[in-house]
């Protein structure tokens, strides 16, 4: 989508409402994550957090292309996916705070956000492990002849796990309705992808499985949306899976207080100059979908939503100690 007239065409196709919806989601994720970051540094958020700032266009672009029955799975870095998939921000915040009103009644925490009733499995924080699981979700859809699609989000680092290889190969072999979205943010924790992968693109690995692949601009929500739509459409139409690589960047530390000292300054500034929200804003303004006033309104309403979500979380009760024993088995009590 480098070229202006093409971009305009795409936006026309998408339409103002949907495009503004995406913009709003980008802002929601950014503001939510900024607030969580601040609260975490204050010592207010329990556990650890892996934040999504910088990568918002990936989650939003892909999730905007999904239908209701579709199912996504995320990783240790799931806040953005959860918001993009439409889980209520308040339930997400409550889960981060370990409250009974959280998406998993506080049992899961930041790294296991999810709500299957909203189309998101609990996030899988074991790098790579969600990939075969998503193949299995897609297999269920295939076996039941349901026109549903399963999407796995994972990082560049996950592409070096055995689970990636096995999961992608199986998805290809069974021609499953799945999309494997690799958010290539150039680092797995502190490790540059150049140290651990010798090919230019993770997408190149699709060839090993006879799988379709595509590469998108992970900072451009509309490009992601278009490519995801194609991949999802193909999957739904029995056309099999796609490995969709999105080139992106994380502004936040890998986790906790990580100051990203292993990243070069120029690298950071290069990517920040392509900020997904700024890019989206520019595109929307240019085609007239977004006026400064509307932008301000959206910003304000998101700020309010974030406030309320945090407030809701903080006001919510913790689960009762007795809940420790709930939710493991369906048919029996936890044996003592």
């Amino acid at each position: 989508m480098s070229n202006g007239s093409e971009a305009a065409e795409v936006l026309e196709r998408i339409g103002a409402e949907r495009a503004l919806g995406m913009y709003t989601k980008l802002v929601e994720i950014r503001r939510f994550e900024e607030r969580i970051h601040f609260l975490f540094l204050e010592g207010n958020v329990p556990g650890t957090v892996h934040q999504y700032i910088g990568q918002e266009a990936c989650a939003v672009g892909v999730c905007s292309a999904l239908s209701e029955g579709d199912v996504i799975a995320s990783t240790h870095r799931p806040h953005g996916h959860a918001i993009a998939r439409g889980l209520p921000m308040r339930s997400i915040a409550a889960e981060l705070y370990g409250r009974a009103t959280g998406t998993a009644r506080g049992k899961g925490g930041s790294m296991h956000l999810g709500d299957l009733s909203k189309g998101m499995l609990p996030a899988i924080a074991t790098v790579g492990d969600n990939i075969p699981i998503v193949a299995g979700v897609a297999l269920a859809f295939r076996l039941r002849h349901e026109p549903r699609v399963a999407v796995s989000f994972f990082g560049d680092g996950a592409a070096n796990e055995g689970a990636f290889h096995e999961g992608l190969n199986c998805a290809a072999v069974y021609n499953l309705p799945a999309v494997f979205v690799c958010e290539n943010n150039l680092y797995g924790a502190s490790t540059s992808i150049q140290k651990v992968v010798k090919v230019e693109n993770i997408a190149d690995r699709a060839a090993s499985y006879g799988m379709r692949s595509d590469i998108g601009d992970g900072m451009d929500v509309f490009d992601v949306y278009e490519r995801a739509s194609n991949a999802i459409g193909a999957a739904r139409g029995n056309g099999g899976p796609t490995l969709l690589e999105l080139k992106t960047f994380r502004y936040s530390g890998h986790s906790r207080r990580d100051p990203n000292n292993y990243m070069a300054k120029e690298e950071k500034s290069y990517w920040k100059a392509r900020d997904p929200i700024a890019l989206c804003e520019a595109a929307l303004s240019k085609c007239g979908f977004l006026k400064p006033k509307l932008a301000a309104e959206i910003q304000a309403s998101v700020a309010k939503e974030v406030d309320e979500a945090i407030e809701f979380a903080l006001q919510s009760p913790f689960p009762e100690e007795q809940e420790l024993y709930d939710g493991l088995y369906t048919s029996i009590e936890v044996p003592r």
């Binding site: 492990d129 299995g136 269920a140 859809f141 999961g167 369906t330 936890v334």
Partner: protein
């Protein structure tokens, strides 16, 4: 009808697949025409009946169990298997980190009605095809573990496992299958049973008393239950009467039934095919020692393999696995010391 364990498992799987479209099988070489029906013939022929639901996989154990996990989360009832229990370890993260934890991590929102099958037992194949994995997975909250030692139990426990809403790991024993044809196993033990015409389940979490006696409790599972019965017979000739308990379920462990038995006998010998260290026997011994120590007339005895991998050489292998005669000897020693 009389069935072997392999036939019994097939019968149970077939019955459940016929009843419920959501049941399907996933594994290596399980449905290739002209092939094996899995490593030990359990699914033989089912592929022609359920073409789409007997799914041959690449040699990708992590994917097999990962896919089973994902499909089960969507309400399917997968039956995933490995050719030898040892290869569960190739999928250990999927089993322990994902399958066992997913429901809990979701706050109880997700159900995972899936079955995992794994053949175990020390059977002439050396260290990598012989391990008894029961004790590994006993450390893993979130899955149930069963181990049928007869065809009756195989049918009933497999049916219960498939219909169970939670993940169930089924350990099967290579020497008990009674597999036929090119897959016949040397040194096989007859574990066949008369199988009722009507469907039935054997409840998960309940052990079974195989034989009554007042002097000592002998407990084990799979092949060891057969060995315990042989030992008990030998001992009966000498006037030592054994309560022989077959665990049937490794988890939940039916410690109540064992308590009842030990309250009567005052003595327990726990027999395990795998190494003693960190074994299932340790959990049983603890469950007795913690709760009913006062009933013990003699120390708890664990009979198990040495704390080594399984050797290949036949005489070493014979010395490795507890034999009926060795079990009987330990019981005799125990009786004469108390």
């Amino acid at each position: 009808m009389r069935m072997s364990i392999a036939e019994g498992l097939r019968f149970a799987i077939d019955g459940c697949m016929a009843e419920d479209q959501s049941v399907f099988c996933l594994g290596e070489d399980i449905g290739v025409p002209g092939g094996f029906g899995g490593a030990f013939t359990v699914t033989l022929g089912l592929e022609s009946k359920y073409r789409d639901r007997i799914i041959d996989t690449p040699i990708s154990e992590a994917a097999i169990f990962g896919m089973a996990c994902g499909a089960a989360a969507m309400g399917m009832r997968p039956i995933a298997d490995v050719q030898y229990g040892d290869f569960l370890l190739c999928a250990a993260s999927q089993i322990v980190n994902q399958i066992a934890k997913l429901r809990y991590m979701s706050g109880g929102a997700i159900g995972l009605p899936l079955v995992m099958r794994a053949p175990v037992g020390v059977t002439g194949r050396g260290a990598q095809h012989s391990q008894n994995l029961e004790s590994f997975f006993l450390s893993c909250p979130g899955i149930k573990i069963v181990a049928p030692s007869t065809a009756y139990d195989a049918v009933g426990l497999m049916r219960a496992a498939i219909r169970d809403p939670d993940p169930v790991l089924v350990f099967e024993h290579k020497l008990l299958y009674g597999s036929k044809g090119a897959r016949t196993e040397k040194g096989t033990f007859d574990a066949s049973s008369e199988i009722p015409d009507e469907y039935f389940e054997v409840p998960i979490g309940r052990a079974q008393l195989l034989r009554r006696g007042d002097h000592v409790t002998l407990v084990g599972s799979l092949l060891m239950s057969h060995f315990n019965m042989l030992a008990a017979e030998e001992l009966a000739g000498e006037g030592i009467q054994c309560d022989v308990v077959d665990l049937r379920s490794i988890w939940p462990l039916d410690i109540e039934l064992l308590h009842e038995s030990v309250k009567k006998t005052g003595r327990i010998v726990i027999v395990e095919e795998g190494p003693k260290q960190g074994g299932v026997g340790a959990e049983i011994a603890s469950g007795i020692a913690e709760l009913i120590p006062d009933y013990l007339l003699a120390p708890i005895v664990r009979v198990a393999a040495p704390n080594t991998p399984a050797p290949f050489s036949p005489p070493l292998e014979r010395a490795y696995v507890p034999r009926p005669s060795a079990i009987a000897r330990r019981v005799r020693d125990l009786m004469s010391a108390s």
